[in-house]
């Protein structure tokens, strides 16, 4: 090579340096060097013209435009998954960048845990592949053939473990969790090599290295130079790269591609000289036996698995591409800016698909092709001519400098014209220091940061980010209506009555006055379904609610479909209408292995709310019954109770009778929870809340369950078998016994008082209170007593016990805020005085109770047949009193004839059944 200052001098130094560093010994270096020459030679001599590309390289795209005009090939072979081919014409309906996507949920032949499988291949406008695609699709008689392995093979050949993905945000997350494939991946294959190149190239990241050492020198190069340089780099990375799985996959791909191309050539009878093979520079330096049209080495292409692949286009963005392929932020935008500048400079017209948003009306006619000359060593000649610096660069830099100051001001910086001058000068100084003929966008960015950024960022964006915006910013693509899957089109069609432009990326506000415009009801229904299926900020209700038995008459929505187009498109892979997708999802949810009764009840509710199908809701409900019976833990009991109550309340108000599954749920739940109750009471892992919810279920479903044939004895037995030790659960058990009439209020009260009086149990008294508080849910009539207990506790417990426990009480109340607090507050309001003055003279009702009791005693004791009757048969009265919480004693009968109405007693004595039954029922 030559020793003159040249645009490629530094690239050569870089590559040589890398070869020396990573080859083992000088012999190996010379081996590598001669190998490089061989590789370049072989690739350039191949009969089927190989066009090496690198992704996001404006130089590649430019060279492609020029070459296509010159050669006008008849067939273009492109390194892209072959099964994506039908999607290509759909690109016409989109605004780039978009990504071709293959998607599979229905997998067969891969581990189930991989589902869903998703592959994306983003296409940007500034890419060589887009040029090739546009040329081929717009020029009559030209065939485009995708030759890379199918998306199915991407996973077949994937190394054993699950394909990994990383979390990303906003625009950068446009591709979701897909595996990315890209044409022309050209980057060092191991970290040390990249680090070495960056370090010695005195640049920060790979895109900058590429820009400085390859892109800039190549900007004015001719085709032969371009090819030689690209293959050289591809070859070096290949030779220095580690072997292993990734290389093996690459080689298989090369075998695949050459096999496909030979198949096509022989089938179509095309002349290899009229064809062009577009592939990554890495593959241009391939060593597989199958390389070349003359090769006869066989390669057997394995069949695809039974996985069902679906195809579509999804929006992409520069930042999504950067995130997916590990490129520096802003680098794809900078490449796009460089591309359009180069087009202007070279007065070139790029190829473009008809119908593309922003496309010219009619394509320019292609000039006649230029006959192919001999492959000559153009490298040498080119190396000696320095790159031309032109006025365009200077004007551009000035423009940037002025614009960045303006942009910075708008973002809160105190920047001035002086800063614009400083940025301009600093860019030039930096470029000079970094050995660059003219400032690159990266120099400009550094200069702007140096001169404008101070100690803090005033607004949302810092100067670095502003520069990225200035240099093109993130561009976000959009998939046009016609290229959307049926479901997405259906969604847009059905929302058309709203009269909004839903393709806009800004948030659209929809106002639905459902009373005035009843024809908007279907829109509202659809929005609620979408709300359920899409990410939460895609469809957000601002006003209006949909709950069981409730519908709003006015709704307003914030819709952001433009931003979430991918999510809508991906729903389209699951079905043809939203209803179908929703039904499938709900069904999948309740039949999942991890499904619980609570999940199934939630699904029932969703089905009622969104699908309105009784049949389907019943199906899900039946599943809920099954799930409940199979459950071994009661963790979900509170959730189950809440949901089934809500559903029953809904059915009772909306339908003539309860659906069969509800009844089944009540009876089987009754038996289920009875069975589990004794264990739940003693099991340390089961919380008080869970037990309380079980009791709540048992008590509130009791009448229904008994009516349907359950046996109350089961519950009584269960309660009798429960012997909790934890204070809170003991309290709960007392409450349950009280509810069952086994423990009168008076006794409950005296038990509580005993506890408070016993210094040994005082420290655990707060736990009892927790139990009582929880008991308000299953035994609501106990709330007065709970207020009493709490008041006593606050009055009597020492601070040392009380204070540490308060937070616990508060959190307990907060967990049950919806149910517990209102009851407690209402009861407390009833108990405590309403004004300060009243407070002075106030005595708590439980302390003043003895007086009314004695007053009642003092009241003249009625006598007569009724009193006698009651006295003789006190059971029923005692039971009623017990339930009502009245303590009292039977007073001796007052004056009066003792046997005034013997016939009544005789009657009762003779026929005691009715009275005994009443007593039995109440106790």
């Amino acid at each position: 090579m030559i020793d003159q200052p040249s645009p490629f001098g530094s690239l050569r130094e870089q590559l040589l340096g890398a070869a020396e560093q990573f080859a083992e010994g000088p012999v190996a270096v010379s081996g590598i060097l001669s190998g490089l020459v061989d590789d370049v030679d072989r690739a350039l001599r191949e009969e089927l013209e190989i066009f090496p590309v690198c992704h996001h390289s404006p130089a590649s795209a430019l060279a492609m435009v020029r070459r296509l005009r010159e050669k006008q090939p008849k067939v273009i072979y492109l390194e892209l998954c072959e099964d994506l081919q039908p999607l290509l014409t759909e690109l016409r309906n989109c605004r780039l960048p978009v990504a071709l996507q293959a998607f599979a949920t229905d997998i067969d032949g891969f581990p189930k845990s991989w589902a869903p499988l998703s592959v994306v291949a983003p296409i940007t406008e500034a890419s060589a592949e887009y040029q090739a695609i546009s040329y081929a699709l717009e020029t009559p008689g030209v065939e485009l053939v995708l030759v890379d392995r199918s998306t199915d093979h991407v996973f077949q050949w994937a190394p054993g473990e699950e394909p990994q993905t990383a979390a990303k945000e906003e625009e950068a997350g446009l591709h979701g969790d897909a595996v990315g494939v890209e044409i022309g991946d050209l980057r060092p294959r191991f970290a040390e090599l990249e680090e070495h190149l960056l370090h010695h190239g005195k640049v920060r990241h790979w895109s900058e290295w590429w820009d400085q050492y390859v892109e800039q020198p190549l900007s004015g190069a001719d085709y032969e130079t371009y090819r030689q340089v690209m293959v050289l780099i591809g070859s070096l990375f290949r030779r220095l790269g580690p072997g292993g799985g990734r290389l093996a996959v690459d080689e298989d791909r090369e075998r695949y591609m050459w096999t496909r191309m030979r198949e096509h050539l022989s089938a179509s009878g095309a002349d290899a000289a009229d064809c062009l093979y577009v592939c990554g520079a890495f593959h241009a330096a391939s060593h597989v036996e199958q390389f070349g049209v003359r090769s006869e080495a066989p390669f057997e292409i394995s069949p695809r698995t039974g996985t069902k692949w679906l195809y579509g286009l999804i929006p992409s963005s520069h930042s999504a591409i950067e995130a997916q392929f590990g490129l520096a932020p802003g680098s794809v935008s900078i490449a796009a800016a460089t591309w359009s500048k180069a087009l202007t400079r070279g007065k070139l017209t790029p190829f473009q698909l008809q119908g593309q948003k922003g496309a010219r009306k009619r394509p320019a006619k292609l000039p006649a092709p230029v006959p192919q000359g001999d492959v000559a060593d153009k490298l040498t000649g080119f190396l000696s001519s320095p790159p031309a610096l032109d006025a365009l660069d200077e004007a551009e830099l000035l423009g940037w400098s002025v614009d960045i100051v303006r942009l910075a001001r708008r973002n809160g910086y105190l920047a001035s014209t002086a800063d614009a001058i400083a940025v301009y000068e600093t860019s030039i100084l930096l470029a000079g220091m970094r050995n660059r003929a003219r400032p690159t966008p990266y120099d400009f960015q550094d200069a702007a940061v140096t001169c404008i950024e101070k100690d803090s960022v005033p607004g949302r964006r810092d100067v670095r980010r502003l520069c990225e915006i200035l240099l093109g910013g993130d561009r976000v693509g959009e998939v046009g209506y016609d290229a959307l899957p049926p479901l997405a089109r259906n969604v847009y069609d059905r929302l058309a009555p709203l009269g909004l432009d839903l393709e806009k990326r800004t948030i659209q506000r929809a106002l639905l006055n459902l009373q005035a415009e009843p024809d908007l009801v279907p829109c509202s229904d659809l929005l609620w379904m979408l709300r359920h299926l899409l990410p939460s900020d895609a469809v957000r209700p601002i006003m209006g609610e949909r709950k069981l038995g409730e519908r709003s008459i006015q709704e307003s929505w914030d819709l952001s479909f433009g931003k979430h187009q991918r999510s809508i498109i991906e729903l389209g892979y699951e079905g043809v209408t939203i209803e179908q997708v929703l039904e499938q999802r709900l069904r999948r949810k309740v039949w999942d292995q991890k499904a619980t009764a609570a999940v199934a009840l939630a699904a029932v509710e969703d089905a009622i709310l969104f699908l309105g199908s009784r049949r389907f809701a019943d199906e899900l409900g039946a599943r809920a019954v099954e799930l409940l019976a199979a459950e071994r833990t009661v963790d979900d009991a509170p959730e189950v109770l809440r949901r089934i109550r809500r559903l029953m309340a809904y059915y009772r108000s909306a339908e003539p009778e309860l659906p069969a599954w509800c009844e089944a749920f009540a009876t089987s739940g009754y038996a289920h929870y009875c069975t589990l109750l004794p264990t739940a009471f003693v099991d340390d892992d089961t919380g008080v809340r869970q037990v309380s919810a079980m009791l709540g279920f048992l008590f509130s479903m009791e009448s229904l369950a008994l009516a349907l044939g359950c046996d109350r004895a089961q519950l009584e037995l269960a309660v009798q078998q429960s012997h909790p030790e934890a204070p809170a659960k003991v309290a709960l058990l007392w409450a349950a016994r009280h509810q069952l009439g086994l423990l009168p209020l008076a006794e409950l009260r005296s038990r509580a008082d005993e506890l408070l009086a016993n210094p040994l149990v005082i420290p655990s008294f707060p736990q009892y209170i927790i139990g009582f508080v929880q008991a308000m849910e299953p035994v609501p009539q106990l709330s007065g007593f709970v207020v009493e207990v709490i008041s006593k506790a606050f009055g009597r417990l020492p601070d040392g016990v009380l204070l540490p426990w308060l937070p616990k009480l508060i959190t307990t109340l907060r967990e049950g805020a919806a149910e517990l607090v209102p009851v407690l507050v209402r009861e407390a309001g009833r108990t405590f005085p309403g004004s300060l003055t009243a407070a002075d003279t106030w005595t708590p009702p439980w302390e003043s109770r003895p007086q009314p009791a004695s007053a009642a005693g003092a009241a003249p004791m009625a006598s007569g047949p009724v009193a006698e009757l009651l006295l003789a048969h006190p059971a029923a009265c005692d039971a009623v009193a017990g339930v009502l919480g009245c303590a009292g004693e039977w007073a001796a009968p007052g004056a009066g004839p003792a046997d005034g109405h013997p016939e009544v007693s005789a009657l009762l004595d003779g026929h005691p059944e009715a009275a005994l039954a009443l007593a039995g029922l109440l106790s």
């Binding site: 340096g17 105190l414 002086a418 400083a422 000068e425 600093t426 200069a447 140096t450 101070k454 100690d455």
Partner: protein
């Protein structure tokens, strides 16, 4: 000359290297600079084979290349340079290296404190001379900044944010008008800055809010933010570089075993991650755990082994120094260190062996002595 100083300024310490660079430098030099920007970069960041010079220039400041480039370029423009960052990130050291390389004088330094007055950045009077001869240029004592103006060289201002706003205002006029007038004198009463004059200031980002810079002053400085080094490799390089220098300075012959350096770096990394996940200040060591702090620990250990030990650096001594320098508050810091020793060092010493058991032992002893 450098032998007679406790710590020689960079231009003295690297005089020979600077001479050499000057002799081979054929790049364009701004103003009266002694070296071209590219040579300055090489002086600070070290040379590479690809630079094609006959001797190796060692790296002196470690960090992102672009920080150095941006700093140099700023000084070649008409703005001052403000290096801002956390304590111990090498701001002052970079400022010193840059002024040494640009004008061979890094000693024109003003230290910013609450007590710094306008006199410190303009001029003051030699009172006895004023009494004897009256006010004249002779009886005037120029500040380091004024000296730098007159000489067309770099003046340094350390800890800019600590000085009061009067002082900062005075600096504004110096930076924009580029002269200082001396109203006390009737003639010859303006000192003009010669080309090449500029200011490198440093500011500690933790001090923000003490005396916030006015926006007028901000405008006259380009800010270069120096982040904390988190890359273990460069941190190791910094520590090794500084320690070797220290050994040379104290004329100590002592090996710095790489395994011990690893232990030091590892324990700092552990303690930092513990600090970043701590929820309250009490769970966090008071020390910022900067690179400079690491150097301090090593320095202490080396001096200790040299003067009190058997002239070999041992893990035990290192542990002692680490505990000694980081345990500033008793009992909080000690408790944290104790927890670290039990929870991390102990298992590691069982698992990895090597020097860790000795490090474990030494740390335990030191903690026991201090508590």
């Amino acid at each position: 000359m450098s032998d007679d100083m406790l710590r020689a300024p960079a231009e003295v310490k690297y005089a020979e290297e600077l001479d050499y660079l000057e002799s081979i430098d054929d790049g364009p030099k701004p103003f009266s600079w002694r070296l071209s920007p590219r040579m300055i970069r090489m002086f600070v960041l070290g040379s590479e084979r690809a630079d094609g010079i006959d001797r190796e220039i060692p790296q002196k400041w470690f960090g992102d290349r672009s920080f150095v480039e941006r700093s140099i370029v700023t000084l070649a423009s008409d703005r001052g340079l403000l290096l801002i960052g956390d304590p111990g990130t090498g701001k002052s050291w970079l400022a010193e290296l840059l002024s040494a390389a640009i004008c061979r004088n890094s000693t024109l330094v003003v230290q910013g404190t609450a007590g710094t007055t306008e006199d410190h950045i303009k001029y003051s009077w030699n009172v006895s001379m004023v009494i004897a001869k009256g006010q004249s240029r002779e009886s005037m004592i120029p500040s380091p900044i004024m000296t730098a103006m007159e000489g067309g060289v770099i003046g340094r201002f350390e800890e800019l944010t600590r000085s009061t706003s009067d002082v900062q205002d005075a600096l504004i006029s110096i930076l924009s008008e580029k002269y200082v007038s001396i109203p006390e004198l009737d003639d010859d009463n303006i000192v003009f800055a010669q080309p090449g004059f500029s200011i490198i200031a440093t500011a500690n980002s933790r001090d923000r809010g003490v005396n916030d810079l006015s926006s007028a002053l901000k405008r006259r400085f380009n800010f270069v933010r120096i982040p904390v080094v988190t890359n273990k490799k460069s941190e190791a390089e910094i520590v090794r570089f500084r320690t070797e220098e220290l050994l040379r300075r104290h004329r100590i012959e002592l090996d710095l075993p790489p395994t011990l350096l690893d232990i030091l770096l590892q324990s700092f990394a552990d303690l930092r991650s513990a600090a970043s996940s701590a929820t309250s200040d009490d769970d966090k060591l008071e020390s910022a755990l900067s690179t400079a702090e690491q150097i301090g620990v090593l320095e202490d250990a080396i001096l200790h082994s040299h003067f009190f030990g058997d002239r070999v650096l041992r893990a035990q001594t290192l542990a002692g120094s680490l505990v000694g320098s980081l345990a500033r508050r008793s009992p909080e810091d000690l408790a944290i260190l104790n927890k670290y020793w039990h929870g991390v060092v102990e298992p590691r010493s069982k698992k990895d062996g090597g020097e860790w058991p000795e490090f474990l032992e030494g740390g335990r002893e030191a903690i026991a002595t201090l508590s």
